[in-house]
């Protein structure tokens, strides 16, 4: 039997994608389906005086034209955010179509539904909206002024929340008495996620059964159903099914409950036909929640030996025009808690202010808060090394939490379970040939060439997370997950998970776990995900939680399956359960050749003619898993670049990554995830950045203006 754990099994999901048989939301066609186009605001901030839909309604082939007033009149609610940051957080209503004001370019004002996409596009141009443009605010410092335009009339100073973590007094004192203080003003620029599949949704209401199905390109189908049913539309949850079929990348941007999902669900109930909406890329640029966008001031104090004694951080976090689903949690709990990094900093204090502006909402993006913390901390480390004339690797090394100090409680409320930070640093330096690189750098400088060596030693809090902790820090949902194992009478197995794969390879990795535990061939295992009608419950995929939480739930369910299977096998073999071994897919009575295979046990469970007294027939088990803590992967990356002194062009010469992510089920898939993460990081460092002009017009509104790394921009990764 193959040992599946730690093996780079080739992905089982590949075949459909490489042959063009993937099934993404926009690929689906339902009988009688109509197509929707959303009319969007060209203004960053304007009062809506009137919306004239008559000409659009008259356009041949148009089925309906709907506005925010229609939605309100039908008695439905705004879209809530999912994270409460303090009791005073301002959470102004986010209607799926704007009612009185538009608050960012791209805010929806009307929905045109027609027989096909082209007709809907033509008719959308006939919707006449009279706007009264208002002064817009884009810059966070300006937004906080008393005389700034208000994005929401009842939110003074555009301040949604102020949040802080850590010991303020101890940190102030540590900074004041430090031997050296490194101070830096940070701009962590706004990014646009740009999953290559534009978002798409189809609402389908079956009148006869009063059942609503929503197909949506989401990382998170159960949460979308919960929000839609419990908060937004007040629908009975058992009459609503949310399906996320193949999803073409997410990177966080497809976690959230978006207006267009609500609109398709609402419109299909009104017109009695399926309604599809698919974003054009230019729409993605003004409707997909964007990422990062922090302005920070940070001070790091060091003692005479170079030990970090305190870190003080003040961050303004741009929320955009509305609070998206996880918006408040990202620049607070997923950011401030990471500011200890790998270091023994005794005092840390962070304050984050969430600010509304007339820009697209901001939420989780690849790493979500944690990369912002890592960048800030690691940049300070480099600057401190430069200012105090120390080697940056050495400065990090002397501040590391040591392997014998775990579990380690940080001053920002995390308890790290384990780690060996020096080991990953050493490995990375050795792979990179760090000392030689430093000599090469000196030599290059002597020749007038600019070689740069970058280091980053990071920690992440992943496997999000214990529900108790999530609740304590304001998340409005639990963060467990579920796994169900259905063993069919022939011994074939289907696995139902509440997490969702949109590139992460769950169909392979999870099948490896099941095949390993049940000791059956992987070909006998199939994963089912992304359908609330099939899967008991789930919290979706984000925060590196799929394997740590979803995989663990599957593991728990497998233990139950094996426990029951053992009872059936013991009965068949007329032996005590404890006298059985399970190996190579067979229960064997210890010390004998009497054995029964897993397939026979499964068949017996469904044809229980000769069966243990009192045991239920069938072999199907469900488990929920709520972890006790986050997981804390860590590592060090080293990057060598050359900068052209004349043009400023940066060429990456080498990239070395050493990561300790714990037990690896499929190294090939894990490496692939790291590759994608590096590309996103390089993208932010060298290419990407969302730009708005002072009036709130996005200047990076297409792939022609917003630059992402292409194949030639990246090196082979080591």
């Amino acid at each position: 039997m193959t040992d599946y754990i730690g093996t780079s099994v080739k992905r089982v999901e590949d075949r459909r994608f490489i042959t063009g048989k993937g099934r993404y939301t926009d690929d689906l066609v339902l009988p009688g389906m109509t197509h929707a186009v959303v009319v969007r605001s060209p203004h960053a901030h304007a009062r809506i005086r009137s919306i004239d839909t008559e000409a659009a309604r008259q356009h041949p082939g148009v089925v309906a034209v709907l506005t925010g007033r229609d939605y309100q009149n039908d008695g439905y609610n705004p879209i809530p955010t999912g994270w409460q940051i303090g009791p005073d957080m301002k959470e102004p209503p986010h209607w799926p179509l704007a009612i009185d004001k538009v608050r960012h370019v791209g805010d929806g004002v009307a929905m045109v539904i027609a027989e096909n996409k082209t007709i809907a596009q033509d008719a959308a141009e006939r919707v006449s909206v009279e706007y009264e443009p208002l002064p817009a605010v884009v810059d966070m410092n300006q937004a906080l002024r008393d005389d700034a335009p208000r994005v929401h009339d009842d939110v003074p100073n555009n301040r949604s929340f102020v949040w802080e973590l850590g010991d303020r007094d101890a940190t102030d004192q540590a900074i004041e008495t430090a031997h050296h203080v490194t101070t830096y003003a940070f701009v962590n620029q706004r990014l646009i996620p740009n999953a290559i599949e534009p978002r798409s949704a189809i609402g389908h209401h079956d009148d006869a059964r009063d059942e609503l199905t929503l197909y949506t390109s989401s990382q998170n189908p159960h949460l979308i159903r919960l929000l839609l049913c419990a908060f937004v539309m007040g629908l009975p949850e058992h009459k609503v099914r949310v399906v996320s079929p193949d999803v073409g990348g997410g990177f966080g941007s497809k976690i959230f409950h978006y207006p267009e999902e609500v609109l398709c669900a609402w419109a299909t109930r009104r017109i009695g036909r399926p309604v599809k909406w698919t974003a054009e890329r230019s729409e993605s640029f003004v409707t997909d929640a964007q990422g990062r966008d922090h302005v920070s001031k940070a001070e790091m104090g060091l003692d005479a030996e170079g030990r970090v004694v305190g870190l003080r951080v003040r961050t303004l976090a741009n929320m955009g025009a509305y609070l998206s689903t996880f918006a408040g949690g990202i620049p607070t709990w997923l950011y401030g808690t990471l500011l200890a990094g790998q270091y023994k900093t005794p005092a840390v204090h962070v304050q984050t202010t969430g600010v509304f502006t007339n820009t697209v909402p901001v939420d989780a993006l690849r790493g979500a808060g944690r990369p912002e913390a890592t960048f800030l901390l690691e940049r300070l480390m480099d600057l401190a090394a430069l200012e105090t004339d120390r080697d940056p690797a050495q400065l990090r090394r002397m501040n590391f939490i040591q392997p014998d100090e775990f579990p380690y409680e940080t001053p920002v409320v995390l308890t790290y379970d384990s780690g060996n930070y020096e080991a990953t640093l050493d490995k990375a330096l050795q792979m990179a040939g760090y000392d030689a690189l430093r000599r090469q750098q000196e030599q290059a400088r002597a020749e007038g060439r600019l070689l740069g060596i970058g280091l980053s030693s990071y920690i992440e809090a992943c496997g999000i997370a214990p529900s108790k902790v999530a609740g304590a820090i304001g998340a409005r949902a639990g963060l467990y997950d579920s796994g169900m194992i259905r063993v069919h009478p022939t011994g074939k197995v289907q696995v139902y998970t509440g997490v969702h794969s949109h590139g992460q390879g769950h169909e392979t990795t999870f099948a490896q776990i099941v095949a390993h535990e049940l000791q059956i061939p992987m070909e006998d295992v199939e994963l089912v995900h992304g359908d609330t009608a099939q899967i008991p419950f789930g919290m979706g995929t984000y925060g590196s939680r799929s394997l740590a939480v979803g995989g663990s739930a599957i593991y728990k369910a497998l233990e139950k399956v094996l426990s029951k299977a053992r009872k059936i096998a013991a009965h068949k073999l007329e032996a005590a359960e404890e006298d059985l071994d399970y190996k190579d897919g067979q229960f064997t009575v210890k010390g004998t050749d009497r054995a029964v295979g897993f397939g026979d046990v499964a068949l017996t469970a469904y044809v229980p003619h000769d069966y243990p007294e009192g045991l239920e027939p069938g072999l199907e088990e469900n488990a929920f898993y709520d972890p006790k803590n986050f997981t804390f992967p860590f590592g060090t990356h080293v990057c060598l670049v050359e900068v052209d002194p004349d043009t400023g062009q940066v060429k990456i010469l080498r990239y070395v990554a050493v990561d300790d992510v714990g037990n690896v089920i499929n190294p090939m898939i894990v490496d692939g995830q790291v590759h994608g993460g590096i590309a996103h990081g390089v993208g932010q460092a060298l290419f990407e950045g969302a730009v708005y002009d002072e009036g709130g017009q996005p200047l990076t509104g297409t792939f022609m203006d917003y630059t992402m790394p292409r194949a030639e921009d990246l090196p082979a990764f080591e």
Binding site: K10, R11, E13, D14, R15, R16, F17, I18, T19, G20, K21, G22, R23, Y24, D26, D27, V29, T118, N194, A195, I196, E197, P198, D246, V247, G248, G249, G250, F251, E280, R281, S282, H502, G503, Q504, G505, M668, I669, D671, G672, H675, G676, G677, I678, A679, H680, T702, F703, M704, M708, P709, R710, A711, E712, L714, A716, F717
Partner: protein
């Protein structure tokens, strides 16, 4: 309003009435139901819609269907005979050259064009040839390896064939 077109798609002669403004990609996806060709942007930047026109890669979002009249179009569904895999498709599987799979058909079609012109490309040539295709998942590392795998495999097959 509409115009008749005759296009050979994946070896099969197809005819249809299309609006002059219908894009080739919409004709493929909506009229013919060939949903393996994807739309990732509206500015010809992402390459998810890459197909072959008379054997040369083109972006199907930047062509009208009427421009394909009288020509032969190959999509990802027609790259290999039913049930078989093209060496590139095999390479992407073997080398984990895809994650979410959305850009993959376009990348494979662009790489097929490269290998037709240059059967033994260097790493730099591969990266250059894929400049018209965005991938947000893989960082391209394994895509390059997948194309190298296919080049080697095709060279070996050609050698055997010639031998």
């Amino acid at each position: 309003m509409t115009r008749p077109i005759h296009v050979t798609v994946n070896g099969t002669a197809r005819q249809a009435e299309v609006e002059p403004r219908t894009l080739l990609v919409d004709f493929l996806r909506e009229t013919l139901g060939l949903t393996g060709t994807h739309v990732g942007c509206d500015t010809s930047q992402c390459g998810a819609c890459t197909v072959h026109l008379d054997g040369v890669s083109v972006k199907a979002c930047t062509m009208f269907a009427v421009q394909a009249d009288g020509h032969a179009v190959t999509t990802i569904e027609g790259l290999a005979p039913d049930g078989a895999l093209h060496p590139l498709q095999e390479g992407f599987h073997e080398k984990h050259g895809l994650q979410c799979g959305f850009c993959t058909p376009g990348v494979i079609m662009a790489a097929a064009d490269l290998l037709a012109r240059n059967p033994n490309p260097t790493e730099a040539e591969i990266r250059h040839a894929l400049e018209g295709n965005y991938c947000r998942c893989t960082g391209y590392h394994n895509i390059v390896q997948a194309v190298q795998y296919a080049a080697e495999k095709m060279a070996a097959t050609a050698h055997v064939g010639a031998g």
